[in-house]
């Protein structure tokens, strides 16, 4: 059984059909990259999978581990093992990163019938993760993403992913805005996260990240549908040729 299955997904946003018939199958252990021009619907796809309000599923299905996500609340999708690293993580002033992460982890534990971690235990776990991501521990005390630089926000998304250990991680342009060193750190984080039983879907515009995190499949999303899928070499073709040749294919 595939881990994530998107079948014939049609999604409307603000009365406009943005996705028209997306199919995607992600199996355990796989890494998928989704590429495509600005506005082609990549974030719409990841946000819809995560359950964002306002993204109406007209037809089609979303399944995680065989269970349909369509009627689940965003938090239930999280408990089911889904994680979305946002393209634009929001700032939540006054809520410290640490209490946010602890609340999230404790909510998951509660769901599994486990008791909350003690603060001491939690802080210990966090310190290990934080140093692995070469993150300044001071960031744990600051408000969630509050006044973080673009790159720090992205690193914070990876920190959350490692904390929650999902089955499927959707990473929406987590590589955008990262400096060369931060890209290495994030790539390393993703590679450490990879296990035979989980999977990663990367949305990206560049080959850069894919040099470090080699995808098993690359898909091109254009005008709300996947017009081409291939192996890692497809990303190199796109880097060379852009999307125009595919648009001609898609609209003959």
């Amino acid at each position: 059984m595939s881990l994530l299955e998107v079948s014939d997904l049609h999604v409307k946003v603000a009365d406009r059909e943005i996705l028209n018939g997306v199919n995607l199958e992600v199996n355990p252990g796989e890494i998928h990259a989704i590429m495509g021009p600005n506005g082609s619907g990549k974030s719409t796809l990841t946000n819809t999978i995560a359950g964002q309000e306002g993204y109406t599923i007209e037809t089609g299905d979303l399944r995680l581990n065989g269970t349909s996500l369509v009627d689940l609340e965003p938090e239930e999708r999280s408990y089911a093992g889904l994680f979305l690293a946002f393209q634009y993580p929001v700032e939540i002033p006054g809520v410290t990163n640490m209490e946010f992460l602890k609340t999230a982890v404790d909510s998951h534990r509660k769901q599994r019938g486990e008791t909350a971690l003690s603060s001491v235990e939690f802080i210990k776990n966090m310190r290990t993760l934080v140093s692995r991501l070469e993150f300044n521990p001071e960031f744990l005390k600051r408000g969630v993403n509050e006044s973080f630089s673009g790159g720090e926000k992205k690193r914070n998304e990876i920190l959350q992913m490692l904390c929650l250990d999902p089955k499927v991680a959707l990473l929406d342009e987590t590589d955008s805005g990262l400096d060369i060193d931060a890209l290495q750190v994030v790539a390393q984080g993703i590679n450490e996260f990879r296990k035979p039983h989980n999977a990663v879907v990367l949305v990206t515009h560049y080959q850069r990240l894919l040099n470090h995190v080699v995808p098993d499949f690359v898909h091109v999303l254009l005008n709300g549908t996947i017009v081409k899928s291939g192996d890692a070499s497809l990303a190199l073709d796109l880097e060379r040729m852009g999307y125009a040749w595919l648009e001609q294919d898609a609209n003959p």
Partner: protein, 365 residues
């Protein structure tokens, strides 16, 4: 004319005060600054009866003088400052308070050191009181004030180089309450205030700050969390009358049920106050359809070379923030709570403040 003395300060001439009251223009109900709070209800409240209170505030240490306004040690200060500090604020309710006050006392800081500063607790009482606070040159003082259901007029003067930390705790109350606070700052003095408020039947806080000395610093913040049918009205005026001073004002409020929050924040910068740095911000979140919020920032600038900003907003919880937390597994309800707590935490500096607002203190003291 034989004048009757004022009970708490016999050297003051009651007849004369009555006369000023009669001559003064009474504020008009339903007009600013009484547009959203019933002036009549407040006047009725000032008529009493009050339970009264004969306790003076308690101090935790030395270096501070506390006593009745007519206490021989206090009287020289009282004669100099009572009703003088607030004389330019044209607040007739301050005069009403003077005539009605059952108790009048002063807190005078006399000495403090780098390492210690006296702290004075003013407890809540259903009484009509007049309070004078004098922070003498280069001394430091902390005042922790509780209000609940009374009428308290505080006049406060910070002499050169002095510092006052004032925190005001306003717990839930079913009464009408009127508080008036005037603070005059002399050069290089520093006034820091935080006000924590939850619901009362009607709670009105008038705050006037006069920066009269160069280089003085003012930092005022406040948070409110209102529910049921409570009504809170905060009217804040900061007058920059001397150059090179700075003031920061920051208020955050959460309003639910059919509660009502009113905030008016005015910064006035006189021609004689160049190089002023003044900022005011009020943000509100309404968490119910029945909640009402009236907030207005005002800026009046007559000097050149000033840095000023002001802003007031009211809105709902940010759905994007809620969604972000929910995708991490935080349930909907808890997400909302967390965001609201964070919003209020931004102004919380004291554990008692967090307690008043019913949120967890995050140890940023």
């Amino acid at each position: 004319m034989i004048s009757e003395p004022v009970k708490i300060a016999p050297w003051l001439d009651a007849k004369q005060i009555e006369q000023t009251l009669q001559d003064a223009k009474m504020p008009l109900p339903r007009k600013d600054p009484w547009k959203y709070t019933s002036l009549n209800q407040v006047l009725q409240h000032l008529d009493g009866p009050f339970e009264g209170n004969d306790q003076f505030p308690a101090s935790n240490g030395n270096g501070v003088l506390i006593g009745a306004l007519c206490d021989p040690e206090i009287e020289p200060f009282a004669r100099e400052y009572v009703s003088q500090v607030s004389k330019n604020s044209n607040n007739v309710l301050n005069s009403v308070n003077l005539l009605r006050a059952q108790q009048g006392y002063a807190i005078v800081s006399c000495e403090s050191s780098e390492s210690s500063r006296p702290a004075v607790h003013i407890s809540a009482s259903d009484s009509c009181e007049r309070v004078l606070i004098v922070v003498q040159e280069h001394t430091r003082l902390e005042v922790i004030e509780h209000t609940s259901g009374g009428n308290r007029v505080i006049e406060c003067v910070l002499l050169a180089g002095s510092q006052l930390l004032h925190r005001r705790l306003q717990p839930a109350s079913t009464n009408v309450e009127y508080n008036s606070l005037t603070v005059n700052l002399k050069e290089n003095s520093n006034y820091r205030m935080v006000q924590y408020s939850v619901g009362a039947k009607l709670r009105r806080n008038d705050i006037v700050v006069n920066i009269e000395g160069e280089g003085a610093q003012v930092d005022i913040s406040g948070g409110w969390k209102l529910s049921d049918t409570s009504h809170l009205d905060t009217q804040l005026t900061v007058n920059h009358l001397a150059k090179g001073a700075s003031s920061q004002q920051k208020f955050h409020g959460v309003v639910g049920d059919s509660a009502r929050a009113v905030f008016n924040g005015r910064i006035y910068i006189a021609r004689d106050a160049p190089q002023t740095d003044a900022h005011l911000q009020n943000k509100n979140i309404a968490i119910s359809d029945g909640a009402s919020i009236f907030t207005k920032p005002e800026l009046e600038i007559y000097a050149d070379d000033v840095a000023c900003s002001h802003g007031a907003t009211s809105g709902q919880l940010d759905e994007k923030q809620i969604f972000y937390l929910r995708t991490r597994g935080v349930p909907d309800e808890r997400s909302r709570e967390l965001i609201l707590e964070g919003f209020l935490t931004e102004i919380v500096e004291h554990e008692e403040g967090a307690n008043v607002l019913g949120i967890e203190h995050r140890g940023m003291e």
